[in-house]
Amino acid sequence: MKIMTALVTLCLSFLFSTTLFAQTLEDRLKALEETVEKQGQIIQEQRGLQESLRKQEQTIDEQKKLIQKLQTGAGQNNPSSGSDGTATGPLTPTGEMQQQMQELVEKVDQVAEAQTRTFPSIFNPAIGLVGETIFGYRGKGALQTGSDRPGGFDVFQRSVELNAAAAVDPYAKAYAVINATADPVTGEAALGVEEAALQTTSLPWNLELKAGRFFGEFGRLGYIHDHELPFVNRPLALAQYIGGESRTDGLQLNWLVPVEHYVSLTVGAGDQFGGDNPPNAVGDFRHGSGLNYWSRLSTFFNLTPDIALEPGISGLWNPKTDAQWADPGAANPPFPAVNGNTFTQRERRLYGADLVLSYKPLSNNQFESVTWGTEVLYSDNRYDVTDPSGSALPSSTVGSVGLYSYLTYKFHRQWSTGFLYEFLENEVNKQDKTFAYSPYITWSLSHWNQLRLQYTHTDHNAVSGLQSDNAVYLQWAWIIGAHSHGWQQR
């Protein structure tokens, strides 16, 4: 019946499509002839398929009968056999039948199992490619806004990320993220290793060790890739205090605390921390103070089946950041200047507290949810200060605060909207303050294709010397190949 329906539908489709567009009678006749010919072919194919199906059904029936026969024989002759079908006793004619049946069952199992197997390329890593383009318009120029992007119309291929991940052996897995980013000025794409790390999978005592280049666990969004953020741009506080994504070359140990409640503790040490921060200079000999150290503690509470609270605290400490700037290769170290005085960072401390409160109804969380996320950072940095003549001034400690808070409401499987509020005190001069307000709306055509429109109004105070401005962004992100629903993106 189904085949007939398909045939009739197919015939009607062909008739309709071909006759509709035929311009002349001759064309129509020709089209009809072609259609009839095609129909003939289709009917032949369908007959072949029917025959093949009939044969398969016959084979299955025969096999079923054989199994039934063997089972009946085994059951009648050997009532003592276990309910799991285990054969017992010597190889009598009944035993032989049982063995045959066992072999047959094993063969059937093998066939069934083979169907669930995948390709010989299973040893290859899972590979995915992520692309992200930002179309933007900013009302004022880069000099007036302090942005690394130009004012006016801007098209920015922010990233093309190649992801690969696979198990290394029974004890570890590895992954790499190779990222090509366009230069803000020249547009030239520069290829870089964003992450390449080994992660243990079988350490005892709930431990997990990560080594290599990776995004260190600090805060809630610091280790999330740009295209996975809930809004277009990385919050100002993360961009300035961490330097973008929390990239590090180092070692990180995570411990799932063995209690009934979820508590996760992470500690790490690395050469650098944050995308814009250069690694500490190696020099002739490096002490432990030349490294960055970080830690994060997070937990989770089910307030109701639908409402959850996930708080966390983080800390970052670099005891001797001046080593960073002592790199002889750094011809123009980015010393910040305030009121004509030059600030050289000597020690870097950063504390963070974050909170995510979410409402995700169990029954339709793919269609509706509300997420409120907030992260507050306190940057406590020590600086050596020199005046314009190069004379040393008393060292300065600047404690500045940065925060962001967002609320996202998902009202459809494809649609969500939200608002992001940001506040930032400059890490060198806390009197320099920036505020930003960003409503955004996201359209996820599918898991792998997403558009986001965002408007951002940025206010700077007078101390900053920058001007307030407005910007509109359209972000288009896509994924091809393998994609994982990672723990960090939950």
Binding site: V259, H261, Y262, S484
Partner: protein
């Protein structure tokens, strides 16, 4: 130096505080089992009896592919002796990340504690390619085989084997429990087949492709899905085509799974002159369906009631 020491001590104190806030209880004697979905939890309780302590990640109302990835699942999985799952990549959206976060080597893939209930099931609808132009396809085939009660027996067999493998000294008890449950299930299967017999050949559509195994078992005709592709919402054009095809073919039932919005199925049912029914896809999905048998009872009786003329 003093402040550095102070910072370090503060961090350690805070960590200690968190750790001490929840005192770890003494481990229970029972076999700790985590099931991804409620039907598997029900089977495990039936076979394991008093010897198992079963927890389900899903409560029953979730989409089988969309169980929220809650950190509170992690300690439960961390302690589990066995993880019982549907397989065929049914849990791909939440299980791999949870497994990694659980840091429990006993239940990792290919370990004895990883109980894939799809073993021995011949899948339907195995895609010829796993291109995303076909939506969120399952590369190993449709994973919703448990809605066929005969195939559910294979899942029960897999659970039984895993329990026996973990605790062979209790084999007799597990076998007794299994046989008792299978006897009950077999009787129910006969009852369900008799109940659905008048609907043989009846066409129906559903929101997601949950029902091919169910349809095949009970002789129903699974006509199509409201979703454009798996995981992809329907377009207006798709709905229009579906409604006209349903009218032409006199499709009398639209199945809405409770995880999906009512609006589209209801409108399609109205336009096509069909009856919309809300059917659970695992126990607990709608009230009074706490067990697998109760759920199947509900599904069968609701389907039968939806087509009174054919009775």
């Amino acid at each position: 130096m003093k402040s550095r020491t102070y910072s370090l001590l503060s961090l350690i104190a805070l960590a200690a505080l968190f750790c001490c806030a929840w005192v770890a209880p003494a481990y229970a004697e029972k076999i700790r089992v985590v099931a991804t979905l409620t039907d598997l939890a029900d089977f495990t309780r039936a076979v394991g009896g008093d010897l198992v302590d079963v927890k389900s990640l899903a409560t029953g109302v979730e989409d089988t592919h969309g169980v929220p990835m809650k950190p509170s699942f992690v300690p439960i999985m961390n302690r589990a002796d066995l993880l019982v799952l549907v397989g065929f990549d049914c849990e791909h959206a939440f299980l791999p990340a949870l497994l990694e976060a659980s840091k429990n080597p006993r239940i990792q893939i290919n370990r004895p504690g990883y109980v894939d209930c799809s073993k021995g099931i011949i899948p339907r609808e195995v895609p010829k390619s796993t291109d995303h132009s076909e939506g969120d396809v399952h590369p190993y085939g449709n994973p919703h085989y448990i809605l066929d009660p005969v195939l559910a027996k294979t899942a029960i067999g897999n659970i039984y084997n895993a329990l026996v493998g973990f605790s062979p000294q209790h084999k007799a008890e597990f076998a007794r429990n299994r046989d008792a449950y299978l006897a009950k299930l077999n009787a129910k299967i006969v009852e369900w087949e008799n109940a659905v017999r008048p609907l043989k050949g009846t066409k129906f559509v559903s929101y997601h492709e949950h029902w091919p195994y169910f349809a095949a078992r009970f002789g129903l005709n699974y006509f199509g899905t409201i979703e454009l592709k798996p995981g992809v919402d329907p377009s207006p054009r798709h709905i229009q085509v579906l409604v006209s095809e349903m009218k032409a073919e006199h499709v009398p039932i639209v199945v809405r799974e409770p995880q999906f919005p009512e609006k589209a199925p209801k409108r399609i049912a109205e336009q096509a002159g069909a009856t919309m029914v809300t059917l659970p896809i695992m126990p607990g999905g709608v009230p009074h369906t706490e067990t697998y048998i109760k759920m199947m009872d509900y599904i069968v009786h609701t389907m039968v009631a939806a087509v009174p003329a054919k009775k």
